[in-house]
Symmetry: C2
Subunit: 420 residues, 2 copies
Amino acid sequence: MTSVPKVLILGAGFAGLGAARKLAKAPVDVVLVDRHDYHTFQPLLYQVATDILDPETVGHPVREYVDNQPNLRFVTAKVSGIDIAARNVTFEDWEDQTYDYLVVGLGARANFFGTPGADEHAFPLYTLNHAIRLKNHVLEQFEAAVKAPPPEAPEMMDVVIVGGGPTGVETAGAMADLLYVTMARDAPRYPIGNASITLVEHGDRLLRMFNESMSEYTKEALEERGVTVRLGESVAQIDQGSVTLGSGEVINAPTTVWGAGLTTSPLAASLSDDLQHGRVPVGPLLNLAEHPEVYVAGDLAWAKDARSGEVLPQLGSVALQAGEHIGRTIDRTLRKHKDPEPFHYIDKGSMATIGRGAAVGVIPPGLHLTGRPAFLTWGAVHLALLNGADSKTAALTNWFWTWMRHDRPSRVLIHPDEED
Amino acid sequence: MTSVPKVLILGAGFAGLGAARKLAKAPVDVVLVDRHDYHTFQPLLYQVATDILDPETVGHPVREYVDNQPNLRFVTAKVSGIDIAARNVTFEDWEDQTYDYLVVGLGARANFFGTPGADEHAFPLYTLNHAIRLKNHVLEQFEAAVKAPPPEAPEMMDVVIVGGGPTGVETAGAMADLLYVTMARDAPRYPIGNASITLVEHGDRLLRMFNESMSEYTKEALEERGVTVRLGESVAQIDQGSVTLGSGEVINAPTTVWGAGLTTSPLAASLSDDLQHGRVPVGPLLNLAEHPEVYVAGDLAWAKDARSGEVLPQLGSVALQAGEHIGRTIDRTLRKHKDPEPFHYIDKGSMATIGRGAAVGVIPPGLHLTGRPAFLTWGAVHLALLNGADSKTAALTNWFWTWMRHDRPSRVLIHPDEED
């Protein structure tokens, strides 16, 4: 067949796709594998969960990103094992694959930190299916509330969101708009305006990556929108219909969203005996010390920045840059015959949106934005980052409907596997 | 509570929604019930099945159509029984409802005419869930084909479509574009261009509502696109992976689409002892002779036109006009105190699209269109009919991506209830 080296990339997230695309000109055969046929734009998952965007806008065909790369083959399959000694990867639903280079970008999963009931009753928000399941649950609660005798209705729409990071804050703000504006108009006879949305954060402020005044702005903006913010509170237990705080207080919550932490796949253990918080330690080139042909990037990796020496956070922007760096490293070595360079992450800023006209953001070296300027910047940046002109168009039009008109074309309950 | 008459509308399809909207000013309480929270724009279901439009573009929130009607309440529930003697309707998942006026627009379902294996192995195309299931099946076949050793691939993508009416013709044309253009580009190493698409029609021509030269044009346009058209052939049996024709010939078909006929719900029997092909006979006012407070419209009804005396076909345009007529009749009687008028259907034309630049259509009294003029007219008409400015925008942009760029942003496999 062919005698060029084979690069096997596991995962078509930001890391895997970044690596794949930088190998377009490299003298290699690339095999890109993901369990889904779509790439998930994770920063906008909360908008799927709150009916702002269709699932098809946030989950985009992987093949559209790579269909101009003749050296690449994309296959959907689920990894079952990685044997780095034998250079072999096994799949639940595909033949074994050997490799010359392996790039592992398999991401993370929700970490419930052993909280009783969380795994059964809370909705995590890390994958597209998570987002659709949360959306469907909220819409089902709404349909049941509208059918029930009025006094019960508001309790059925109560929501608790655990975690005051970007996922929790963005979900809380979007949920307030969904419940208090769109659904309140949809069902004027029911007191959905009385439903409570509670954001619970263990620490003493929201969005700890930002400064204190931005945290304070975020809290006030959420409260203005009707969200109750509970700082310094832990979650002791989650049951069907309620959340018990560390203080013993019980909050009614037919819907509990979990945005409080990440852990990694059991496959991580096959890459390292020395996992750090479940993540795989890699060197400055983002590969394993004993197996330099194995690269790890994204939420699965425990990587340090080449300049600052700090451990890099689990962010989409880090994953994308790390993946691209790996692709460039392999390309440099094989095509340009140059030495690889250590990975340095360029922080282009971070942002979170709270609702129409309200957001916070930091653009290095020191621009701090809140309110409408942050909101508009957020929109422009995410539109630029969203891959595919079709997804950009869809997002822009849906944002228009949601924020200008408060129509949400996506608020429909679709269960394709049910009868009719 | 209130003492105005209660109008109970079962089904939020074209008939039910048409009736509901014409009651906006009537002195009545309207309760509109559907098993889903969305209205399905059925003429575009084949575009969901072939990844041109997102499910959320074709299934639109019912509440957006009726949220300016203070006299209307919309509830999602599934009808389990209708007792017209007791004026009572029961639901699987809601309390019983009595009524002063009942409007039944519960639609139809696929009729397999007792063909062995059809119910288990063929994909009907009457509901949004049908369309999503067919789409998912084709995408799953594609993913499996891409993983399999090349020689097997084209057979895995073979498609048989039963029925040469609009559903069959439009699906065949769109399937050809999906397989031979989009998927062929997605997977250049696999011979998907050799996959066969076969359209089987029992009669001697396609689209029998049009004249013979339009049928001939349709056949040629499909054949140009790679579809094999088999006229005068019946289907004797459908198995997993194959279709047996009446002649005994067996066609390989991992995917069989059933677009060959309709029957109605078992609930029809509770409305009449004298069903006509499963449909409920109604008088000139579209109500039951013995129970004039019970109206039936849409695919469920067996109605005759007041002027021509002909039985009206099962078409979305008939359902919409009949539903609106019922709403107007009740409004006329109660608010305007005028006598009701018999129903006359105004034929505004019919159309079918075959692919980019190819369609057929008739606009009364006698304008026959084929080719690009028909295609452009088809687009303009469906855009105008598609309810909701957001759905219009989404459809227009998706048609642009599909027909101009051959990108299909919707071609992703989403199974929200699967793990992650």
